[in-house]
């Protein structure tokens, strides 16, 4: 095991690459949950974003349209969750899970219909890179202070937090609780969709069934780990990305004369997360009305 394997420049670069999609999902989760809606359909939003992004980019030959379409697709799926969670007061977890299954089924089905057995064509346009990282990595990082500023420095952010903490109080000062929640859930879907675009358009340059592979859920864990704050989410996503980077860079490493089994290296990001949460993060308090459907009284 060498130092380069643990903190080398390539490991750090890999950390950023691996953290970005989780960060985007987590920022979405922060916004949604700060407004009081648990959106576990982030995974689904990512997946439809990844798929639609590829389809749109390939059909129009425009990377901009591809990314935009991914964002819209993620937003639309979140919109269904919003209607269910806010309008129908569905159980937010069941609704989110249903949408995740739906997203997987739908994208896999359409992927098969569109690209059959050949797979995504190779001529999908490229996303620009800056300093050897996809532009979307930098976008995701830039979104951290922006989300922070939005939540804590703007009128809309103030209202959004109010709605997530005490929707009835917000209602009494004339804030449309449902409207704010809709906006927040849609925004979370947009961010997750962008995360999907990053995966398909930047990382993979193609779509494969179920390619988000649970990143939406890891993003949700990052929300809690980061105590519902954008900066906390960044820390969590980076830690997780680092763990993942290690599980690649440490392949072939030995302890004494024994090779570390490659499969066990796969546990690193998850172990690191548990250790960090148990060791440093501990108790975390969600927004008071998180996950609780809001119903106007007397109507």
């Amino acid at each position: 095991m060498t130092v380069d394997m643990v903190i080398g420049a390539s490991v750090l670069a890999a950390t950023l690459r691996l953290a970005a999609p989780i960060l985007l999902a987590a920022l979405g989760g922060v916004i949604s949950e700060r407004a009081g809606v648990v959106n576990i359909a982030l995974e689904g939003s990512m997946l439809v974003g990844a798929f639609v992004g590829i389809v749109a980019a390939e059909q129009t030959d425009s990377i901009v349209i591809g990314v935009a379409a991914a964002i819209i697709a993620g937003t639309l799926l979140a919109g269904i969750h919003a209607i269910a969670a806010i309008h129908w007061r569905s159980d937010q977890i069941v609704s989110g899970m249903a949408l995740n299954i739906l997203a997987l089924g739908l994208t896999s089905y359409l992927n098969f219909q569109l690209y059959g057995t050949t797979g995504t064509p190779a001529d999908v346009p490229d996303l620009p890179t800056v300093a050897d990282q996809s532009i979307l990595v930098w976008v995701s990082l830039a979104l951290v202070p922006l989300t922070h500023l939005f939540l804590f420095g703007t009128v809309s952010g103030l209202r959004l937090r109010a709605v997530g903490e005490h929707p009835r109080a917000a209602e009494t000062v004339g804030i449309g609780v449902r409207r704010v929640r809709y906006a927040a859930v849609l925004a979370s879907g947009a961010l997750a969709g962008l995360g999907g675009a990053y995966l398909s358009l930047s990382v993979a340059h193609s779509f494969t069934d179920g390619m988000t592979a649970g990143r939406g859920f890891i993003g949700l864990a990052a929300v809690i780990f980061g105590k519902w704050s954008p900066i906390g989410a960044l820390v969590a996503a980076l830690l997780f990305g680092y763990g993942n980077a290690l599980s690649t860079s440490l392949q072939g490493a030995t302890i004494g004369d024994t090779r570390v089994p490659v499969q066990l290296l796969g546990t690193l990001p998850y172990l690191l997360t548990i250790l960090a949460v148990a060791g440093f993060v501990g108790r975390s308090r969600p927004p008071a009305a998180d996950g609780v459907p809001y119903e106007k009284e007397g109507h």
Binding site: L158, A169, V173, G298
Partner: protein, 505 residues
């Protein structure tokens, strides 16, 4: 002159329950108007209709003679109606300033904290309302939180301010300060509706009175031309009882002895400092004080729910400082907690299930850990009847009961085991007069039986009505302990506000 506000024939029903059955209300401009009635009379419902939180099923609202449709709080605010809610409508983690401006920030998209802080400061100085604009609301005592509510309403330029039971959580001094604010408001041209069921307050500050009973008008009065007796008859439909004279305390055996007790609050700040007290068998020790001065922590320490950082506690001579709630209760201590809906009851459980909370592990309800549902239901039915829970159905869901009946369930559970020490916190909060009387009777019955009672209440009337001795808490300390006879309202009020010298007088 037309009235500022006319509500005519307002109807509102919730499923089976008719909450308002054609209620009228007429409020003159620049008046302080009392809206009186027992709990469940429909006062809050009427005001929620006015504020647009409930859509009425019938009737109409006129503002300055014109038909006003109020579809929601936004409409109400736009028409100059402001509401100071009984359960504060504040967002705990936000600052005072943020709470005041929320929903009407007037700063553009970015929140300009400097500008809004200035605006709140101006408002404060104009109406003489003191509170740190940068404090987080969750760190403020209730009295100050109420001021934030008033600032919120004033900030929105309301002309008609509705106060929903504003004094429930205040000390006498705070009540006086509040009324001073109300008078200032009137002088500044505002109109005030004061919802209350406390007659003293009606005479202290109001001009006119509307009394509701069971969702209907029971009478309209001019304050200066009526008497407490008349109002009370209209409210309750009968005469009020006088406070009972107390028998002198019986035995002098010390049941609870607390010395040098210290504890931290949930936030890790000191909540109790060197607290010492004793309660004897057959005695009620009242703990007076403004909420948030360590009373809750004191009760929790005694019950073993909070670990003391210093001092010790003995019950019947045995050291209980390190005991958890299970051991403490096993030693014959029972507890009527402050927040009955969250601490006293599992609202989603049936009455019968609530009646065995804490006793679920042993006979007669369980043998070797297996519950006996028949015994639970039978005992539940007995207790429900004995403690006058209505409906007396042991399978009713506790959350569906009224506040008074919920409290009866708690009392039924706690008092039925003949405890030697009873810790009671805010036992009549939110209850109507009849239910309050019931609770007081039951506590005095226990005292007569020889139980030691530690009564924590921010209602001075209650403290003075029940206690043999009264200790006053202020900022985590007991600043004085007085015999009930010497505890005048003024003296207690001063002590509660931190004027320790009053104790020595």
């Amino acid at each position: 002159m037309t009235a500022l506000l006319e509500m005519q024939g307002i109807r509102k029903r919730f499923g089976e329950l008719v909450a308002l059955d054609g209620v009228d209300l007429s409020v003159e401009e620049r008046d302080v108007h009392a809206l009186l009635g027992e709990n469940g009379a429909g006062k809050s419902t009427l005001m929620n209709v006015l504020y647009g939180l409930y859509a009425p099923d019938g009737g109409r609202i006129l503002l300055r003679g014109e038909d006003a449709r109020i579809g929601g709080p936004r409409d109400a605010i736009a028409r100059g109606i402001g509401m100071i809610h009984q359960h504060f409508m504040l967002i705990p983690p936000l600052t005072v300033t943020e709470n005041v401006v929320l929903g009407d920030e007037r700063t553009g998209a970015l929140l300009d904290r400097r500008v809004i802080r200035e605006r709140v400061r101006e408002l404060q100085s104009r109406f003489g309302i003191e509170v740190d604009p940068d404090a987080r609301v969750e760190d403020l005592p209730l009295g100050l939180q109420q001021r934030v509510e008033i600032l919120k309403v004033l900030y929105r330029g309301s002309d008609l301010l509705v106060f929903d039971e504003p004094t429930a959580v205040l000390t006498p001094q705070e009540v006086d300060e509040l009324f001073a604010i109300v008078r200032t408001l009137r002088e500044q041209g505002k109109t005030v509706i004061l919802i209350t069921h406390k007659l003293r307050e009606v005479f202290a500050v109001t001009d006119r009175i509307t009394v509701l009973r069971l969702g209907r008008n029971a009478g309209s009065l001019v304050t200066s031309a009526t008497t407490a007796g008349e109002i009370a008859r209209l409210m309750v439909g009968r005469e009020l009882r006088e406070l009972r004279p107390r028998a002198t305390a019986g035995s002098r055996d010390v049941v609870l002895e607390v010395t040098g007790l210290g504890a931290l609050s949930d936030r890790g700040t000191p909540a109790l400092l060197d607290v010492g007290l004793t309660v004897h068998a057959g005695e009620v020790l009242g703990i007076a004080g403004i909420g948030g001065n360590g009373q809750s922590e004191l009760a929790e320490c005694i019950m073993g729910l909070r670990r003391p950082t210093a001092g010790d506690m003995r019950i019947g001579g045995a050291d209980v400082s390190r005991d958890g709630p299970r051991r403490t209760r096993a030693g014959g201590v029972c507890y009527v907690p402050e927040d009955r809906r969250r601490e006293g009851l599992v609202l989603a459980f049936t009455v019968a299930d609530n009646l065995i909370l804490g006793k679920q592990a042993g006979p007669p309800y369980a043998t070797f850990g297996v519950l006996d549902p028949q015994v639970i239901e039978r005992e539940g039915a007995l207790l429900a009847r004995e403690f006058d829970v209505r409906p007396p159905n042991p399978l009713a869901i506790a959350g569906n009961l009224s506040g008074g009946n919920q409290q009866k369930v708690v009392l039924g559970r706690e008092l039925s085991s003949s405890p030697r020490l009873i810790v009671v916190s805010q036992p009549s909060r939110g209850l109507d007069i009849a239910a309050t009387e019931y609770v007081h009777d039951r506590l005095l019955e226990q005292r007569a039986r020889g139980a030691a009672i530690l009564l924590i209440s921010s209602e001075l009337d209650e403290i003075r009505a029940l206690s043999d001795r009264i200790a006053v808490m202020y900022e985590g300390r007991i600043v004085a302990t007085l015999p009930a006879a010497e505890a005048t309202e003024e003296r207690l009020g001063l002590l509660m506000a931190g004027h320790e010298s009053a104790g020595a007088a």
